[in-house]
Point group: C2
Chain length 293, copies 2
């Protein structure tokens, strides 16, 4: 319903907004091929092993239009398909105002209101939008590989800004230590708050380091709660969402106005120079105020 957008999505959003705010959201982002889904499958094993329930949303605009199908191509995920303590969905939007960047927080809110304690959002850290979606989580995990330099060169600064935890996945490959030093150097040049992002080496295929990764997520959640940063982050996040919805609503309103008979009439009067463009805009907005709000 959220993915389809429109009035039902808004109604659902309104119903769940008041109830949400209990779940802890974890954004996991990284370049294509960084091994995010293998890592996430291993993470599910760990979280389920600790008897916690977990929902996972995969947001990948570049993948084929799987539109809500479970991630059947991700073989290891199939272990979890029949597990009631796990929810997995590949997000796609059909008509949602604002696309994935506005649909994702609404989807998280539904899962949150339904009582899922952990919501993991997986995105491909390529485009600006996908990085923003992951960075809008309570805890953001950035996944890189040994010799990451070339793969994410363009976006390094952006990833530095959002990372609460760094994961060097495929850490059994050569170059893992160099990559750790590289990240440490970049962190030393960054302006950090009271949280110093840990760097966690993992091997997704055999689960090495994944228990430690989850321990760091728990530590970060505790840090956010104790420092008061959790409330501040969530408040800011709602404001960003508000501004984005406002922007999109205005765009939609202009598009609707373009199709109205009033507009056709005004454009005719413009063509005959009976009215000037500024006066025409004023009149369009004045007449629209009554009919569109």
């Amino acid at each position: 319903m959220v993915e389809r957008g429109g009035d039902p999505a808004r109604e659902l959003g309104a119903l769940t907004f008041a109830e949400a705010g209990q779940a802890h959201t974890v954004g996991i982002t990284g370049a294509p091929g960084a091994g995010k889904s293998t890592l996430n499958s291993a993470l599910m094993d760990v979280v389920r092993g600790r008897d916690q329930r977990l929902a996972m949303l995969a947001v990948d605009p570049s993948s084929p239009f799987t539109g809500g199908a479970i991630l059947g191509d991700r073989v290891r995920m199939q272990d979890h398909v029949t597990d009631d303590g796990v929810y997995i969905r590949s997000m796609a939007t059909r008509g949602h105002l604002g696309g994935l960047s506005l649909a994702t927080p609404q989807a998280v809110r539904v899962l949150d209101a339904l009582g899922w304690p952990w919501v993991v959002i997986e995105t491909v850290g390529v485009g600006q939008v996908e990085v923003e979606i992951a960075g809008a989580a309570d805890t953001t995990v950035v996944v890189v590989n040994p010799r990451w330099g070339d793969a994410v060169q363009a976006n390094k600064a952006g990833l530095m800004e959002i990372a609460d935890i760094f994961v060097i996945n495929k850490a059994d490959r050569p170059g893992a230590d160099d990559t750790r030093r590289d990240i440490q150097q970049m962190l030393e040049l960054s302006t950090l708050g009271s949280w110093y992002p840990p760097i966690v080496p993992t091997v997704g295929v055999d689960g090495t380091g994944v228990e430690e990764l989850w321990d760091h997520v728990l530590a970060h959640r505790e840090h956010l709660a104790e420092s008061g940063e959790l409330e501040e982050r969530r408040r800011q996040r709602v404001e960003v969402e508000f501004a984005e919805i406002l922007h999109r609503s205005i765009e939609a309103r202009v598009a609707v106005l373009a199709d109205t008979p009033v507009n056709v009439e005004l454009r005719g009067r413009l063509a005959t120079r009976e009215i000037d463009p500024y006066a025409a805009v004023d009149e369009l907005l004045r007449r629209a105020d009554g009919s569109l709000s």
Copy 2:
């Protein structure tokens, strides 16, 4: 008054809009260093030599804030300073809604309503906005130089789209013939209407080719009038301006809202989850309609 913007500019715009529509506007655009002002100075000699009056607006956002001073740095222009048949102004905007892209058509309208038969708009063909301003004229002249390739590589397609006349200025330098062939080739690949853009070699410093350039401008004006394209272009241009004003007006309206107690109140209710972001946007826009229209 137009450059300062605000209510006086709008009033002036309303007064002049009904009277305007007689002047023929010529946009002249090209990369920095293409010799546009030398060429324009030579063009003034030609037009004045034919006993025509001519107004010239220089739109150059990258130049120092000359704010309405005559173009004193353009030495040859000084020949025309005491000539009543010439009006020269360097456009700058201080507070005009929408900046140069909305101030320029209003300035043209004032000159038009005052009876100037020719209005030349000179812009630097670098940014998208400046190319759009020049391309919004009745006749658009694109000025290039021999070996133009490197200078305008990125923008070639955009220039092809708007050019009614090509000028190869500094045509006494090596490479002019190659440049002509290059342009011809690109034109053959373009979708053209019933007007085939002529390619005119000029030497601005000694006036070579500038009589021919003005003849092509006159021919293009005649073509526009006979084909009915002039009315169609002007109609489209007003519609583009209308859409731009509409967009800017709504943006301005929302910017005003950001500072209102209504917005502060709504953000407070958002923070306490009393209202969801979509409902908050709806309420903000609804209240804006009542208070600002």
